[in-house]
Amino acid sequence: MPITIKLFASLRRGRFDVKEWGYVPGLTCNRIIHDIGIPEKDVRLIFVNGRHASLEDQLDDGDTLALFPPIGGG
């Protein structure tokens, strides 16, 4: 099964809201972010299947990856 990628907030601009991505063994969050073309500094929160994850975490077949940008204004 493919990976489902969900982008949030400004990360959607010029990209997509939701997209399916081909799964290959050993695929990491970092690799997908790089392949989509999002600069690493633009991603702050990573969730895999609703759980907080890190850049180096490996994905499993059928996982949902959600990416959020940093928000720091007040």
């Binding site: 907030a9 500094k41 702050r44 609703g50 907080h52 940093p70 928000i71 007040g74």
Partner: protein
Amino acid sequence: MGTPWPSFHLSVEGDVKKIHDFLITHANGGVLTWAMEVQASKDFFLSYREVELIALEAGIVPVRYQKNGTTLSSADQIVLLKSHASVIGCGGLGGYVTEILARLGIGKMTVIDPDTFEEHNLNRQILCTVNVLGMPKVGVASTRVREINPAVELIPVRDSFSKEQGPSMLKGVQVVVDGLDNIPSRIELAQVCDAMGVPLIHGSIGGWYGQITTQMPGRHTVQEIFHDYSGEGGIEETLGNPPFSPALIASLQAAEVCKVLLGTGHCLTRRMLFFNMLDMEMETLEL
């Protein structure tokens, strides 16, 4: 005027009875008008907060709190009047939070901000008007709060929040609201709150987007969100902050303050709400 916060002592029992009698005589339908609060304050040399506390304890509701209905009981209102909250940053988020907490009747508020109002604040900061440009934000907040609710004591601190001074700045505070405008300061604030065992209501905004979470002592929610972050700001550096995003997130922060102080409802502990006002979506993230 009466004794300053937090002392609330009437030395003679007879005085208490006289005040009760006055309030009961002048309470119209179980409520106390502002004019009667002023009268009671003058006649008995009490602060407005003391008058309101005596009234509430006698089952008389100041009219200013009447429309809180059954959402906030007299007992709740008493707890809020005896509470001490701190708002760190008095700009977009902090200005709205200060306004709401004053109307809520939080008895004591320490508001911290080093800045003066500038023209570019006018699009979103509720306390900023053309008449106060160049004036210290905490001074303007103090004036505004006195105009809204003189029962509230606002302690203005015209200084930057820092890890070093934080513990003395937040001494005696029961809940802290994050109205800061940069990420490194937020991390320091979260560390200080954690070390002091004080709940922190984090909020931040950028463009059409905003987030809010509540960090309880012993958790490291805010540190986890911004872990290893090397920058100063986030998407707001390019997207800016439109007028509606601080109003939304600040309202939610004020509601969290109310619940933390009253110990009611379900706070955003280990959860973060992420708002997208462009597509009108809300995500709940488990942290």
